[in-house]
């Protein structure tokens, strides 16, 4: 950014260190004139780095630590931090055997079932956002339930549903439901009142206003709620499976712990992370496709 305005990087011959780079970052320009060319040079080097350079460096350092550094201190500790190559081999094996997909599909199925149930938050949110008395009656209940983390429901839900899919799905449902509800209410309340007046003035009935104006107008915010909800649900899912399932990614990593298979644990963790990210990206893409007019979603 500031690179073009300062002296040639060739003028700087001083050796650089990380501290110097921080001290002479563009924000601190003018703090020390002598450091400006140096800082600019560092900035330029950082800008010129290929994408993912830091990530590659990180993986290489990890590889080195796992294979050389930690074993040299204590060979027994090496199992706690498997090398990236070990993890890759394990992952490949789990993909080929279908084990990873078996657990992943079970987790995704639970998330999907819970998501289907939590869509009830949309009509409830619209009713709460549209009719003040409904809001006044329902919101006290919701305000008490909402701050309770889904995980706090695990003991009770195990007693209610026993171990298994229903219990897991219930926990995930709690994670997804409230973000969708809250965002739907906000979406309805934020609709430009003149749009509702315009619809009435064009002869729209109350029902048509709700379906064609209120629901449509709140949709970007509802999709934002779904995005947040699926993220929270995905986190809750893993926790629910840790304690109350015999399949799924959460079960997989907890089961691997008892066998000290840290490589499987990390494969499971990475899968959870990557799939969570993919769900998020997928919803954003779908949202932008479906609602090309929405400035909120295209941001």
């Amino acid at each position: 950014m500031s690179g073009g305005k300062v002296a040639s990087p060739m003028a700087s011959t001083k050796p650089t260190s990380g501290d110097d780079a921080l001290a002479s970052s563009p924000e601190k320009r003018g703090f020390s004139r002598a450091m400006v060319p140096l800082g600019a040079w560092v900035m330029r080097m950082v800008t010129a780095l290929p994408n993912l350079a830091l990530l590659i460096l990180f993986v290489l350092a990890w590889q080195f630590a796992s294979k050389v550094w930690i074993p040299s201190i204590d060979p027994h500790m090496a199992v706690l931090m498997p090398a990236p190559t070990t993890i890759a081999v394990t992952a490949a094996g789990m993909i080929v055997s279908g084990e990873l997909f078996y657990h992943l599909l079970d987790s995704l199925r639970r998330e999907a079932v819970a998501f289907a149930f939590s869509m009830t938050a949309v009509p409830l949110g619209i009713a709460m956002g549209w009719w003040r008395p409904v809001y006044n009656q329902v919101s006290p209940i919701m305000e008490i339930l909402r701050p309770i983390p889904p995980l706090a429901w695990i003991p009770l839900s195990i007693l209610w549903f026993g171990l298994g899919d229903e219990q897991n799905e219930f926990i995930i449902f709690l994670g997804i439901f409230f973000p969708i509800l809250v965002n739907t209410i906000v979406g309805v309340k934020n609709i430009d009142p003149s749009l509702i007046r315009a619809a009435r003035s064009l002869g729209a009935s109350q029902f048509k206003i709700l379906t064609r104006v209120v629901l449509q107008g709140a949709l970007p915010q509802i999709i934002t709620g779904i995005r947040i909800g699926l993220g929270v649900g995905w986190m809750a899912l893993v926790a629910a499976e840790l304690v109350g399932a015999n399949s799924g990614l959460g079960f997989l990593i907890n089961d691997a712990r008892s066998m000290l298979r840290t490589d499987i644990i990390i494969v499971g963790m990475l899968t959870i992370g990557v799939v969570g990210l993919l769900i998020d990206v997928a919803i954003r893409v779908v949202g932008r496709r479906l609602l090309p007019w929405s400035l909120v979603l295209s941001r």
Partner: protein, 254 residues
Amino acid sequence: MGQLTIEGLSKVYGEVGAEGSLLALSNVSFRVPDNRFCSILGHSGCGKTSLLNIAAGFETATAGSVTVDGKPILKPGWRNTMIFQDYALFPWMSIFQNIAFGLEMKGVDKKERVATTGHFIKIVGLEGFENKYPHQLSGGMRQRVAIARALAVQPDLLLMDEPFAALDAQNRKFMQDELVRIWQQEPKTVLLVTHSIDEAIRLSDYIVVMTKRPGRVKDFIEVDLSRPRDEDDSGYLALKRKLRDLIHDEADDR
């Protein structure tokens, strides 16, 4: 069809007679013949927006009535549709869908809907923009969509709330001329609210000048100038001077 009769219209906000209640309109009466263009001219706070909201069915009158062809206006609907200052286009609908919306609400079948929508898109000069979304259009073009959307339902009475207030001066004048052209092609009884003297003269057959709070009819003027209206015409200038005097009286007695 659409003879507008406003008879003894009053509007009080708050409990009548109670402290803090506000008399916005007091005994307003005037009549606009079928397919004529009427502007309501006045300063802000003269109750002109209340009058328009009552005519649109958004608010109810405390006393008096607004009738179109003898039928009282009691609720909003396509018979007395309104064009809003901020256009109020549905951002999730294409231009075509926006204009067709009222027809759909009216229960017009699809074939006729497509034909009517196409007709009004042509009249307001938006061919080629059917599949665009409102956020892709300029202010003037959005206003055209709003005009087409309101005309498409074939209202008996068309209400306009300072429709050009959001446009720059150049565009405003252009859109005023466009509105006159469109209105001459598709005549409707129009009630337009404005605080611009030039806008009122440029557009109207009749001008209702309102007093400040409470809003009363100060003068009801028939504009007897040929169209298109010429700003340098002596009749135009005389009327402008007359309106300015009427309006200035109101500004002084704050």
